[in-house]
């Protein structure tokens, strides 16, 4: 169950994103430094008014004490400084830890900053090997599974159990790309069709290359503080209404259930804390590392019945103009996916939408957003629900 602590008491008052996609001119550490300073400035604060830093490590430039190294780089001695590592779920677990640290009096205002450069600071082969090293070293990795292969096992089980089709998985990629085509910063902007996905290069059956997220550079940061301290900034704060976690296993070969994930637990906890239901959510920002992961989250987070994720996606409900807009920045399938920081861009996009700054892709009447992140192979899940201020 969740480590509760957000529940309307905390607000996001600043945010920043680096350039994303292919960013060869800055190292991961430099990107992390940049987004840290930019987010503090966006919040209308000075470095001296922020007293906590939480980061995650970078695959392309691992540092033993990562957060401390980022603080040192800019000559900052924050009161609270820590590096978090729960894979792709790190983003929102770090955010909850920030809220908990503030609650406990360890800091008053914390920056959560993450960046990595899988594209420009690693070879394709290094990136592939590093990512597949999440497999069990004795009972998975020797057989040569890739990360897409792990998700392909989940996809095949879902197809077998519920009759989901490859074309329905493809709909997830099509939806994300349709949104990305409206985002000037997105790494991939050319619209694609289901046929394009189906005809793209086979990676690990049933997944094709367009079912797989991008390999990117980029970073993002947010500033969190107690809601009563959040009044005087330049932007309307975004309230954290609910949070939940779920942890089912680490290795996919130990999963008791391949087609229902611990997103069901994390989502339930977040909805309960927020006092909301899936019907109340205006914007879905889900973790689309691979199309089947997205489809299963849609089901497990309660946006449709179990087994109906394929039909939900094929209905077009998540695309521009649909009633349940999803991943309006384009997601990790089309906006960017620099590894562990990936879900940060789902969060910053939700803030951009709530501030009314999303340009061509701006949603009307944005009141609530659900952001989901997961680490491992559908292993560790974190869900946050955000609310716009009046």
């Amino acid at each position: 169950m969740s480590v509760s602590g957000l529940g309307g008491e905390f607000a996001l008052i600043g945010m920043s994103e680096s350039a994303v996609g292919i960013v060869p001119d800055k190292s991961p550490r430099e990107l992390c430094v940049q987004v840290t300073l930019d987010a503090i400035q966006d919040a209308g604060l000075t470095l001296g008014e922020v007293d906590g830093l939480i980061t995650c490590n970078a695959f392309a430039e691992p540092i033993m004490y990562h957060a401390e190294a980022v603080a040192e780089y800019i000559g900052w001695q924050p009161r609270h400084c820590v590096t978090v590592n729960t894979g792709g779920g790190t983003t929102f677990m770090a955010l909850n830890m920030a809220a908990a640290a503030i609650q406990a009096g360890m800091a008053d205002t914390i920056v959560v900053a993450m960046a990595d450069s899988l594209r420009s600071f690693m070879s394709r082969e290094q990136a592939m090997v590093v990512q597949s090293s999440s497999g069990h070293p004795h009972y998975e990795q020797p057989y040569g599974p890739t990360v897409p292969a792990y998700y392909a096992l989940i996809a095949r089980a879902h197809m077998d159990q519920f009759g989901t089709t490859e074309a329905q998985f493809a709909e997830a990629a099509v939806s994300c790309r349709a949104w990305a085509s409206q985002h000037p910063k997105a790494q991939k902007r050319d619209p694609i069709s289901v046929e394009d996905v189906m005809n793209s290069r086979a990676i690990a059956d049933p997944l094709k290359v367009l079912d797989c997220s991008l390999v990117s550079d980029g970073g993002a940061a947010v500033v969190i503080t107690r809601k009563d301290r959040a009044k005087n900034g330049p932007h309307k704060p975004v309230t954290l209404l609910g949070y939940g976690e779920g942890h089912a296993y680490e290795h996919i070969s130990q999963a008791k259930n391949l087609t229902t994930s611990a997103a069901a637990q994390s989502g339930r906890a977040a909805y309960t804390e927020a006092g909301l239901t899936p019907d109340d959510i205006d914007l879905l920002q889900l973790y689309d590392c691979f199309t089947p992961a997205l489809l299963i989250q849609i089901e497990d987070l309660g946006f449709c019945d179990k087994g109906e994720g394929g039909a939900w996606l094929a209905s077009g409900i998540s695309r521009p103009g649909g009633s349940k807009p999803m991943n309006t920045h384009g997601g990790m399938l089309s906006y960017c996916h620099p590894g562990n920081p990936g879900a940060m861009f789902g969060l910053t996009e939700a803030m951009i939408q709530m501030r009314g700054n999303a340009g061509e892709r701006q949603l009307p009447n944005m009141r609530t957003a659900l952001c989901h992140a997961q680490g491992g192979i559908m292993s560790s899940h974190a869900t946050i629900i955000l609310g716009a201020e009046d």
């Binding site: 082969e125 592939m128 090997v129 597949s132 069990h136 070293p137 004795h138 009972y139 998975e140 990795q141 020797p142 057989y143 040569g144 599974p145 890739t146 897409p148 292969a149 392909a152 096992l153 989940i154 996809a155 095949r156 089980a157 077998d160 290069r201 086979a202 990676i203 690990a204 059956d205 049933p206 997944l207 996919i252 070969s253 130990q254 999963a255 391949l258």
Partner: protein, 140 residues
Amino acid sequence: MAKPVPRPTPTEQPFYDACAAGKLVLQRCQHCGHVVFYPRTHCDACQSDQLAWEDASGAGTIASYTVVRRAVSADFEAPYVIALIDLAEGPRMMSQIIDADPDALAVGLSVKVDFAAWSEDITLPVFRLHPALDGGDAGP
């Protein structure tokens, strides 16, 4: 580089010794009867440390599978089949299904263990389709 190869801990060594001898063995909890895989010091059902090795049948069914078209590294030659196998004794195991026509694979089909040398010291369990158990042609 070479294929990743396990470096067994003392706890795991009996599993790999058995593989080298062409046998699949699993741990059974002497407290609750749960069959444990991967090898552990404690039962993952009741946390007892009273685990004992016993011979497994080597039979299983495909829980899921994928044909890997892009190999993880140059040490592997695509295509190859990665599968999750539900062993007859209960536990699930990741492995490769070898010598199979990808079009003949399906969730639920029966497989039987075989063994393949991964290095000079390490032999791993792999699986082959076993149509006889599904009422089909056992083949040659």
